[in-house]
Symmetry: C2
Subunit: 556 residues, 2 copies
């Protein structure tokens, strides 16, 4: 089979203006970025306010393994399959981050015959949204340090500065740094650090904002520090709101591209689900719901992270509810969850598959708590055997959930027809809205405990002294009512990446709690999770190149 | 009179595709960024290789003062005026940097009726070129620190790491920092710092590259550190070249916009002339020379910095030569050079103007050394008097140079007709190529001394011990033959910003020398110049905003 890049470069793309026109988007509401990318004006959502919403379908997954599951591929493939069977469908995805692209990952635009295109642009700078977010975040950091340097009129407590810096790069050396060294002209010396841009509160705000005005209000509420009297100092206190909004004026608009089969795709916003809330933008999803009958959307990593936050943060804030959930798995990935090493994955091992189904079964049990119908999409691999498939089928059907083989990777939309038909059936049946996991009124610690016990199946939650103190401070400031955004390894239900399958008899360790008053949630950082990744020994960047005539090497 | 933003927002813009078509650019060679910005393919230059070049006109200025001179305004206005008198003209400018935009400056797209548009986009993210440069620079920094963390196989000498980080923000607290603090997983602890993106060697490379292949070769040659044997470690040694080139694949293409009178404008690259070489990209200038009969281009700040580096670095590498030079001044700015305070500028003061002409006269004498004909453009101000104008006229005509009043700020192209006619006359007369100030074969110290004595009129050059050592090392590495890129305050011929007019009896103080082996020059940092600016007490950002219906406040 051809490589992803080859398939993408041979794709028969339509001008994006044509894709937009079919959706009923006016030329006036479209800002082209070349022939195959465009920004869609926010007025499209306003102008269609009275139209009923299409059906929303969430694509989520088991815990990821090095074997690969194909969540984005399924998201893209299912949307193509729905179009294939005559349903007007839009896919909505997150924008890839540059950092991981140069680390291990390579790229993130689906795979095989289920990709969004132009994949090279999408994987690199795309329409500049992440750069705009990095700029707005950097501006606030510069204004904050400048305020300290110019006399600290707001009486900021030097020990309680919480605004860090961000860059869209995996750069471990920036995790903990000291700034303001050298002469007095270089500002005030203090310890701080960088996170990756996808962890920025501004990224979360861009993904949760319902309008430019809402964006500005949220930006203004962001807490950068506390003053010596213990009161929060916000971006608004630093008079930074307007300039940040100006930097984000285009980034807030959803990006329109297409799949290899010309299905419209809104790719907008990109918080990671291990360190942030992990869903594409509310504005993109809501705009898509006005323009199509079916909207397929993703939540990052496994359902323990992405789906939980999709329901408890995104849907709650946006006032939307999915009609069906697709949970993606592969026989190989379940085998790894059952204890098999990567090198042994191609050998049939029914016992290991059976053991590994503990992982998917826990996800199925969890998803029931949100009261939305579920189907399992099993991505086909040449080495899968019928006995292995049956093992997965049996485990899921015991829970009343259908398992459908999906082959969108090698066949495109055609390979997902059965899945699409089951999704339509589930959507047609379902009328009730989803049920959140916890009530906002609960104290923060109860909300964290609910997630840890109900979703992760932990025995309990342990807090560091620092985290305890932070929780008390947040409650004292009156932010106890916010939802919780868990930051946890994606590889395990627990906060220990090594515990695959469905671990039991463990505690969740909360080491730090950060208040995102603008985004509107409280981030609980667990285990060894880092908000700034590092590069591996041999970074993917080493193998990348572009030739004089534009051929791209090493992106996938 | 209306504000710049008002005038810009009322402009009658043509679709950029129409502007391109008039230049003979194929639709295939144009990548639209909205309706009024586009990237132009590098094949336009290749396909027109055999066409003769148009005439190149350099716009430079006296040393800048807070009174304002209007160099960009004149650049834009002159190009409109040339079109007004029937000459097919393109203007070429540098892209503004975000950092200063939020500091003191506000924006940089000309003023009044001589602006390039869309000014808000140009002043903000534009087509993302600076973000791409920042990303490529950041990637190399991350790869370097990762290399140290993963065992330092290249034996990099921890005391001789020269690659710093960059951000497009005025952020003084990042000038000197320590990275890699905390646990071992956070990399190797070491001192380093940030420069502003316009000072990045990658910015210089983008502006000097003649093709994608040349760009890659230059990127690969960049020195990031020295190993324990004293040998240079390059970006190529870190296998970073291809990935950086991939990040710059679109940034290398010139951007096409238009003036308020629809004159085509290539705005591409943006090194500052006080800390970098200060000229727009060679590819944009050369492409423009193939498409128009006259090309107006700028070099940053005063002629002591921008023009010298335009001749000795840009023209030398690009193999181009200007046919005429326009030097921009205002009566008010010359008055300040003559010792008048800003508050007193509106009062007639012929004596001060006479004293201040020492500044322009020295620039005129300097420009003669490059053997290109010169004209003075005096930007009209309502408070100027006839006697003041005559004082400027007399001083310049004594040097055989005409002074022409320009009123493009309030009249657009019509206000620059006389200037345009004189420029055409000078171009028609001139056939000889320019003469560089120094031969490349001279030792580095002689080159620095030549610039210091011949252009700045210093008595001599003093080096810090560090700078001396750096010069010796550069010579030992075999890079003695490179041209010199002086980093010096823009406000004075000397390295002391307070010495206006035409100071004498001073030395130039070189505190640090940096080798840019990829860009192909040696940066000599003089006086108190910083490669990372700071924000003022009240940053321009504080006054910026955007309303729900898109009205922009505080950019100018």
């Amino acid at each position: 089979m051809k490589t992803d890049v080859q398939i993408a470069q041979e794709a028969n793309l339509k001008p994006i203006s044509e894709v937009a026109e079919k959706l009923g988007i006016n030329a006036n509401d479209l800002e082209l970025y070349g022939n195959h990318k465009a920004k869609v004006s926010l007025s499209v959502l306003k102008d269609n306010q009275d139209k009923p919403d299409g059906k929303l379908i969430l694509v989520t997954a088991i815990n990821p393994t090095p074997a690969g599951e194909g969540k984005t591929t399924t998201n893209v493939g299912l949307s193509m399959a729905l179009n294939y069977i005559g349903k007007k469908t839009i896919t909505t995805l997150r924008e890839p981050s540059l950092g991981p692209c140069f680390g291990v990952k390579g790229g993130a635009a689906g795979g095989g015959y289920a990709q969004v295109v132009p994949m090279d642009d999408i994987n690199l700078h795309f329409t500049g949204d992440f750069h705009a977010i990095t700029s707005a975040h950097s501006l606030l950091a510069a204004l904050l340090d400048n305020h300290l340097h110019q006399g600290n009129a707001l009486n900021i407590d030097m020990d309680r500065i919480v605004w860090r810096r961000v860059v869209d790069m995996n750069d471990r050396a920036l995790r903990k740094i000291t700034v303001g060294q050298g002469s007095r002209a270089n500002g005030v010396e203090r310890e701080t650090g960088y996170d990756i841009t996808v962890a920025s509160e501004i990224m979360a705000i861009l993904c949760l904002a319902s309008s430019l005005t809402d964006l500005k209000e949220r930006l203004g509420r962001m807490i950068v520090a506390y003053n010596t009297a213990g009161k929060a100092v916000t971006a608004s206190d630093l008079e930074a709101t307007g300039a940040m909004a100006l930097l984000l004026k285009d980034a807030i608009k959803p990006n329109l591209v297409q799949t290899l089969e010309n299905t419209p795709a809104f790719i907008h916003g990109g918080p990671f689900a291990n360190i942030a809330h992990g869903c594409n933008s509310v504005l993109a999803t809501k705009t898509a719901l006005k323009l199509a009958d079916y909207v397929v959307t993703e939540a990052g990593f496994g359902a323990d992270l992405g789906a939980e936050k999709f329901f408890d943060i995104k849907c709650r804030y946006a006032g939307i509810s999915p009609s069906a959930v697709v949970i993606v798995a592969t026989v190989r990935a379940l085998k790894m969850n059952g204890g098999v090493e990567k090198a042994e994955l191609s050998k049939e091992n029914v016992k290991a598959v059976e053991a590994g189904t503990a992982n998917i079964v826990q996800h199925l049990d969890n998803l029931k708590k949100f009261e939305v119908p579920v189907v399992v999409a099993l991505n086909k691999f040449p080495t899968d055997t019928a006995a292995e498939f049956d093992a997965v089928k049996k485990a899921c059907e015991d829970k009343g959930v259908k398992v459908i083989l999906s082959d969108v990777f090698s066949q495109g939309g055609k390979g997902g027809v059965e899945l699409a038909e089951e999704v339509v059936r589930l959507c047609d049946q379902n009328v009730a809205p989803y049920k959140p996991l916890y009530a906002l009124e609960l104290p923060l610690e109860d909300k964290i405990e609910t997630i840890a016990k109900e979703i992760y199946r932990a025995d309990g939650v342990e807090y560091t002294l620092e985290a305890k103190q932070q929780l008390d401070e947040i409650a004292a400031l009156g932010f106890d009512h916010l939802p919780v955004c868990m930051a946890k390894t994606q590889y395990s239900f627990s906060d220990d990446a090594a515990l695959l399958g469905a671990p039991r008899n463990f505690n969740i360790h909360v080491k730090e709690v950060r208040l995102s008053a603008g985004a509107g949630f409280v981030v609980a950082i667990t285990g060894a999770i880092m908000t700034m990744p590092g590069l591996p020994k041999v970074p993917a960047a080493n193998g990348m190149d572009i030739t004089e005539d534009g051929e791209i090497i090493g992106l996938s």
